[in-house]
Amino acid sequence: MRDDERVTTDAPAPSSVWRARAFRLAKALTTPLLPEDYVDLFDPLRSPTHLRGRVRELVAETDDARTVVIQPGRGWAGHVPGQYLRIGVDIDGVRMWRAYSITSGPRDDGMVAITVKAITGGAVSTHLVESLHVGQLVQMEQADGEFVLPKVLPEKILLLTGGSGITPVMGILRHAIDQLDDVVLLHSAPRPEDVIFADELRELDDQGRIRLVERHTDTHGMLDTDELERLVPDWRERETWACGPAGMLEMIEKHWAATGTPHLLHTERFRPVTVEPGKGGTVYFTGLERELECDGARPILDQGEEAGILMPSGCRMGICYGCVLPMREGTVRDLRNGEITTAQPGDGVLIQTCINAAAGRCDLDL
């Protein structure tokens, strides 16, 4: 995270001794809750510990993509163009988190926007595109990510994007276009109507501020190295930012490595999660820094204890929640009904180890 470069919208108020004292007094009045738990009833955006935002505007971009403009809560520390933010929404009552690139340019009103493309079978993206409404409260985390421009801007830049990979690049362009002299944007999308931000990009191209090379994979096929060579002959001289599907990024990384210029390449990938229920997997206890092979038929708690790991435990039948541990990342299967629980990196989904078996690799906080 690069705090020095954040586009700050609202500086946090300086805390003082008096503030701390006032907080202690207020806390003595509200214990065991915190004063903010009561403030939350009336203004959830004021919370200093739980960052939240309110949806202020929804803009349709394509048939299956839309931009969500969010007014962040008081604690928002701003972002560096190109970074993403993690957003949490309650879907069927369950809080689910995903990361989306910030696409908004400079704004006076302190709002930020993310652009979401609905993925087939993607619960969160579909919800954000189809069910979100203006005025809704969303959970947020501070912006993060390394897919940003350096302080000293390179003279020549290549932006290589595919599908929704355009989103962080759009965030960068909207902020930095006036400071960039020579930008080539090579963008692939299935069809012309699938290109997110098409009008804005084509206008930038018309004005000669970027060179837009738009490809449509339904007619042109997937981008390969020969075509890259033909479309952007001077790519070796350009510092490159690439974001898109895993296959495209692999091709690019291999190619840059083979030609000896990987230091000029920056990539951003949206990680997929694969589920293998019933097969078991490796459980990694982050605090102990210990790996344990677990089968998929018995609870993680039993297997952990057999291996001599001191784990919290209780009823051992899934009712008391005495054994709950946060799962940072990975997949487990509820032995009672086969239900799969998946955590994206950093989620910290709390799982009961006494009735869950590993279903692939999972990282548990212990």
Partner: protein
Amino acid sequence: MTALQKKDVNPVAHLTPQDIESLGKELDAVRQSVLDTRGARDAKYIRTMIDVQRKTELASRALLLFSRWKPAFVVGTVGLTVSKILENMEIGHNVMHGQWDWMRDPKIHSTTYEWDNASPASLWKHSHNELHHTFTNVLGRDNDLGYGIMRVDEDQPWVPFYLGQPAWNFINACFFEYGIAAYDLELGKYFKGRKDKARFKADGKKVLNKIGQQMTKDYVMHPALAALTGSWKQTLFANYLANLGRNLWTHSVIMCGHFPEGVETFTKTSIAGESRGDWYLRQMLGSANIKGSKAMHIATGNLSYQIEHHLFPDLPSNRYQEIAPQIEDICRRYGLPYVTGSLPHQVGSAWLKVIRLSLPNHLAKKLKFSRGRKPVQPTALPSRTAPQTAAA
């Protein structure tokens, strides 16, 4: 189940292992049907409950700032009592059970929630969720049975100390939250030298801390704030009344859960090798419901559906009333008692049992206390009906 077999009427004698297994399967299916439909409606229920409780508390506390004025005192005290009851029962108890963990909201989660009660959440979760719910009504394992100070079953040997148990029970009711804190601390076990000293010291510190914070809030901070309007005395008294009211209410509700006549107790040896069906059976026989209005159910934290709660302690509390007809039907078909009654009836029944058991068995028999247990005839036992349906 040896403890049951000693009884004049053994409520499970007619069940074959096959019946118990199919009982377990039926109850698993009920549980699954709730899990399959758990969603936004349930989330809205608990969030609304929390919203109503906190706003009631805020409004009542604000009113109490002017409690020199009598109507403000009365309304504020009633409001604070209601909000404290809601917080402990429908919110605190159920959140700490993990009923809402599936929402993945860190503010409504069993691992983070701390309730407005003398007993710290961590200790309560151990003694309540692990011990009481796993070993429900098992003599010597379930501290909720008599809290270690009362005789709750004819099988327990009588000593003269128990003559005073109606009084002990009433005193416990008045100071109930401290009673809970004391037995979550396993005070009795410590004095018998069966609890680790270091652990007891650490736990004791937690309890004292919590009590300190709770007392400071109710009896120092809020009265001090009300001193600005000259209402400190009234506010102090109102806080005391609200805590007393909640103590008496929660004690009554909890007595109704496992004490009324017709509820069974079990011996330590009877639960060895219990199957899932056996465990369900013990939960059903060891619990009793309360009939009443919707407001009453909410005020009990839906513990008025104690049987449903004990079968499925981690299902959202708003669902218990929805599955209650199914559970009652299962009880009827399997010939099991589904103990229920109005609040006054159940409270009275529990108190009568406390009084009866304060006397030695031979004396209680002479006084002809009604045991209130009637055998229930099964209407459709799988072991008896299965061959017929197969033939048909």
